[in-house]
């Protein structure tokens, strides 16, 4: 799987949504991406890329697009 595929899959499996819902998706934008869903997403991303986010980045990761930016800090290019 490419990085973008892994990245998308983390969102899709955490929230049970389709790929076409990803663009523009924001924290609290859908019912599934609440605080519980957020921690599921974080766990899925950490497992997919074998990284560990800093607490600040967990709080900052508030949209599908922002997540790509944050992953760059962990040397993951989407």
């Amino acid at each position: 799987m490419t990085n973008i595929e892994k990245y998308n899959e983390a969102f899709i499996s955490s929230f049970g949504i389709n790929e076409d819902a990803l663009c523009g998706l924001e924290y609290q934008g859908i019912a599934q991406w609440d605080s519980v869903g957020h921690m599921q997403l974080i766990a899925a991303l950490e497992e997919a890329f074998d990284i560990m986010f800093d607490t600040d980045d967990i709080i900052d990761l508030n949209s599908y697009e922002r997540g790509k930016e944050i992953l760059k800090k962990y040397e993951v290019e989407i």
Partner: protein, 360 residues
């Protein structure tokens, strides 16, 4: 995030001394009061009724306080309903009305950020393996998201590889705990739970079966009411000692906060003193006339927080009794007021997160 909060997030959370804090709070709270006055109609009515002028800056003690009970009687919002992303409900036993706290994105984010600043000043920025001393079941029904579930999920931000100590029937899962401890040997372990439930379902449960968990280096944060424990004559010292007997080498931090002011919590230091951080303050009111009590004087606890923007909860009169022990001079080195809590005043409802858990 407001300019003041952003500035505060750049310094350590226990750095502000009296003079500086008074000045910041006078400005910040006056701004918040004005904001809520302009955006929350019910709040405006209250302030108009007491003839409060929001255009004059006032010190913390002069800010209008709202009894926490009001959040049970009314739905108080300072944002449009469509912008509410989370409605927090306070713990309450059946038959009691619950508080409803309406949060928008900005308010939620600030709460998380500030809680992170406070907790990481104790455990560092590194995320630690986390053992929740509760059942994962409390997270299931998201529509009725209680303060108990919110506390757990809020704390999960500081952890990784999260495990739960209790199974779905609230029975202690010794095997899972032991596996977790074994897996993270040599690491610092973080634990979170509710005061009374830890006592009942972890400490007493382990004692009953005669099992001791040998953690080498762990830190526990716990929150919730002490009423049931006091009824069993369990004080802080007994509690902490029993935790260590049951679980091993554990640093125990009790903290205090309400659903009405999540984020800006108060943590008990190594000397047994509850501390205000830069983000919060405490005022003690005399029960007779609500005048400001001096240090070492018993009274009602008024809680002040810089965080509430989507609901008018920045200055709250609680139903808890306490006293202020000092300011800026605790031997632990943290600045700000430090205080002691004595629990609910007589006649108030039971509503601590851990006190309201009912066995079925």
């Amino acid at each position: 995030m407001s300019e003041i909060l952003e500035r505060l997030c750049k310094i350590s959370p226990y750095e502000l001394k009296k003079e500086e804090k008074d000045e910041i709070y006078k400005r910040a709270l006056s701004e918040l009061t004005k904001h809520h006055y302009e955006t929350c109609p019910e709040y405006k009515k209250i302030l108009d009724a007491i003839g409060y002028d929001v255009n004059i800056e006032q010190a913390s003690e002069e800010q209008p306080m709202i009894p926490v009970r009001l959040f049970k009687e009314y739905e108080l919002l300072s944002v449009e309903r469509k912008d509410v992303v989370k409605t927090m409900t306070s713990s309450g036993t059946s038959g009691q009305k619950v508080s409803k706290i309406f949060l928008d994105k900005e308010n939620t984010k600030n709460q998380t950020k500030v809680l992170a600043e406070i907790i990481s000043s104790y455990i560092g920025k590194q995320r630690l393996p986390l053992l929740i001393l509760d059942t994962r079941l409390v997270l299931h029904d998201r529509n009725m998201f209680s303060a108990r579930g919110a506390g757990i999920i809020g704390f999960s931000t500081f952890g990784r590889d999260t495990a739960y100590a209790l199974d779905e029937n609230m029975n202690i899962d010794i095997k899972s705990i032991q596996e977790f401890v074994e897996k993270h040997k040599g690491e610092q372990i973080l634990m979170f739970g509710y005061t009374y439930m830890i006592w009942q379902y972890v400490v007493c449960a382990l004692r009953e079966v005669g099992v001791r968990i040998g953690m080498e280096n762990a830190t526990l944060f716990h929150i919730g009411g002490w009423k049931k424990l006091r009824d069993q004559a369990v004080d802080t010292l007994t509690y902490n000692t029993s935790i260590r007997e049951a679980l091993g080498n554990v640093k125990v931090y009790n903290y205090y906060g309400m659903a009405e002011q999540l984020g800006s919590v108060f943590v008990e230091c190594e000397y047994g003193h509850m501390h205000c951080s830069n983000y919060s303050d405490v005022i003690i009111r005399r029960t007779g006339d609500f005048s400001v009590a001096g240090f070492n004087e018993h009274g009602l606890i008024e809680l002040v927080s810089l965080l509430p923007t989507s609901y008018p909860g920045h200055v709250l009169l609680t139903e808890d009794e306490g006293e202020i022990l000092g300011q800026d001079d605790c031997p632990c080195g943290r600045k700000g007021k430090y205080f002691k809590i004595y629990g609910r005043i007589k006649g108030a409802e039971i509503r601590g997160c851990s006190d309201t858990y009912e066995q079925h």
